[in-house]
Amino acid sequence: MNNNRLLNISASFFIILSMILMLLPLDGSVGSFRNLLSYVFIPQIKGSNYTYDYSSGVAVRVKQLINAHQENEKLKEEMKSLMLNKSQTDDIQKENQRLASILGIKNKQNLNGVWARATYKEPSRWNTVIIDKGEKDGLLKNSAVIGINNTQVGLVGKIIEVNKDNSKVLLITDKEFSVACSVGKGNWHGLLEGSGDTDLEIKYVPINAGIIKGEDVFTSNLSAVFREGIKIGTISEVESGGGEFKTFLHLKSNPLVNIGSLKEVFVLTGK
């Protein structure tokens, strides 16, 4: 009975309250009541919205993170390839510059011959080098071999052995190498020989030739093997009193071309 009474009172109260809310205008007290209700109705909806947005974002962010990681790995691999390519490109560029300068000089001096790469240095004879051209390229024994130093052409050696696909070059620094040369402005003739070391020795230049350091050394027209006018090097040392009767100068020369770092050489065909 008590329960029924309570039910009737509660039902009546809330039914009447609902009717009042519907009858009264929305602004004023109903509006204030509505604002009060917002503290009860809104927070959980806002929280649910935020949680949903955040969790959706997490999935997207995780996916982006995974994609970024995969892309990162891929880019690292590409970077390695690019660095390798760059290194190769740099080498090609240097070679191109070197060859371009060589071509320019070749045109100026009207040299005929064949380009070859220095591929191998024989350990037993450090003053010889193997090049990648041979008989099939028209190379002959005793052909002159020249190289490049910046923009200048310099004598490197001569062919001493010819095979089908490669040849052996005796370098000017070898003790067995010799060439008739002319020194200085006066074109004083002498004999240039390899010392087995990095420098060259020139003999039989008269003591009164007045040679000084820095003067150029060229191949002479007296040479049976080499054409005249190929620069060999520059005088680095002048000593008097060479020869049996002390009537000659003892000269030393630095080769024009750095023999130790030979990469390409030009083999002259025909004198």
């Binding site: 309570l6 039914i15 309250l17 609902s18 809310l21 519907m22 509505r34 649910s48 949903y52």
Partner: protein
Amino acid sequence: MVHLVKIFILFVLMSILHWVGVSFMGIFRPDVMFIFAMALAVCALPLEGYLFIFLSGLFLDFWGSSLFGGYALTFCLIAYIVYFLRDRMNFENIISQVVLIFVLSLLAGLVYGLISYIFSGIYIADSFVDMLRKALFDAIFAPIIFFIVFRVIKLR
């Protein structure tokens, strides 16, 4: 006091479930607040029950755009019927719950339309097909809501 707090927590949970239904289920959503109100009418004490039945109705009025208080009145009137029936019928089995909510959902649609007509002069109600669909989905989800409410409240 403890029961009041429990019912309040339930109310918050049901409002979140209602938001989930509205946001993600479209027209195939149950009216969670209505089912919750009816479940309260079955198992809660009159005063506490009616307070949250009233608030459940107001929750729908708050997010709606017309007739502030219409759903609150509808829920209060329908809940009175449930309070009258609960001592005469057993609503603890699923079939009774399904049938109860199906019938009451249809009735609530009609009552809300009548109230809107009386208080605003406009008959605001869904079409018969929409009312039927709404009643069907309310009936399908009713056992779940009833189960949750009974587990939390467990008193008459």
